[in-house]
């Protein structure tokens, strides 16, 4: 952020204000500073919403879970140990929220097997919008992967994390992460193959 300030000699000089780091903001949040918390939310909300949309393919649900993620961040600020990467901590909270929700839904389905299983689909795109249809199908296919493949696949392929970072975040070995990403890719390919036109273009539907 750059602020221009007039000096008495009528020469303007830029004054660069540094943004406080995540670590500095979290230190203030631990003391209950709402303003610092607001800054953190504004800084990371898009990334968290994007991550949750990738995991759920449900925009409304992703927004709700993202809000819950930040609430948990505030309430657990006292337990937060500064390791220099707040976004990873937020993604971990978000992943756990998705996992809890899916487990709850699974238990409910066990009790009432006649309940329809929710299919992860986004609203139908207007006809002729090939790219949006492709995004919709890919999003739905990702969201329908088992969570143990979905999370490392999204973190690696979409968020650009390394296998080492993912392994550290998930608390497993690097080899396990590679295996899960590979299996996630295989399952995605199977789901998307009907739409793939010989490796050259996306097939139109209808």
């Amino acid at each position: 952020m750059v602020v221009w300030r007039r000096e008495q000699s009528h020469m303007s000089q830029p004054m660069i204000l540094e943004q406080p780091s995540d670590a500095e903001l979290m230190a203030r949040v631990r003391e209950g500073d709402r303003e610092a918390f607001t800054d953190l939310v504004d800084r990371h909300k898009d990334a968290v919403v994007t991550y949750l949309v990738r995991l759920t393919a449900d925009r409304d649900r992703a927004e709700d879970l993202a809000q819950e993620t930040f609430l948990r961040l505030f309430r657990s600020a006292g337990d937060y140990v500064e390791q220099g990467y707040l976004r990873a901590f937020l993604f971990r909270i978000a992943t756990n929220l998705v996992r809890s929700e899916e487990r709850r839904a699974k238990r409910l389905r066990l009790l009432m097997p006649f309940l329809p299983r929710p299919e992860h689909t986004e609203p139908a795109a207007p006809s002729g919008m090939l790219r949006r249809e492709m995004h919709r199908e890919v999003s739905a296919a990702v969201a329908n992967l088992p969570l143990r493949y979905r999370v490392p696949l999204v973190l690696h392929e979409i968020e650009g994390w390394t296998y080492v970072d993912i392994a550290q975040e998930l608390g497993c070995r690097e080899g396990t992460v590679k295996s899960r990403v590979h299996r996630g890719r295989q399952q995605l390919k199977e789901k998307l193959e009907p739409y793939w036109n010989g490796g050259t273009a996306w097939k139109t539907t209808g």
Binding site: R34, F37, T38, V41, D42, K45, D46, V48, V49, T50, V53, R54, R59, A62, E63, A66, Q67, F70, L71, F74, R104, L108, L111, M112, L115, M134, H135, V138, S139, V142, L153, E157, I158, R185, L188, K189, L192, E193, W196, G199
Partner: protein
Amino acid sequence: MEDHRLGDLLRELPREQARPGFTARVLHRLDAPERRRSIPRLALATVLTVALAVTAGLLIDARRNALESSRAEKALAEIRAEHARLEREVRELSDPPSVVYLGGNEDVDLVLDLGKVRGSEGATPAAYHGETF
């Protein structure tokens, strides 16, 4: 589909933006009491109904079992009594008679009381005794 093409497809997915008012909603929820997760009412009602039906079925089954058990016990007692009576009759039939009718005439009946016959000194031919008549 090659891995790199799949990766391209995934990375082409649009980045999302939080809806306007997102931060305000978070702050509002921070001040609101923590909301409980609500189980859908229909689901809850169904689960409760199923639980009640299962419990009722188990109670009815237990009551039926108790009735059948008491009937079975009564029948068993009757069988045991009948068995004891039959045992008694069989014992009576197998026990030897205590008196034997030897004969008689119009005036005298000759009856031998086996209970008074001594075992080794029971009836023996006269020649076995020392005295003769």
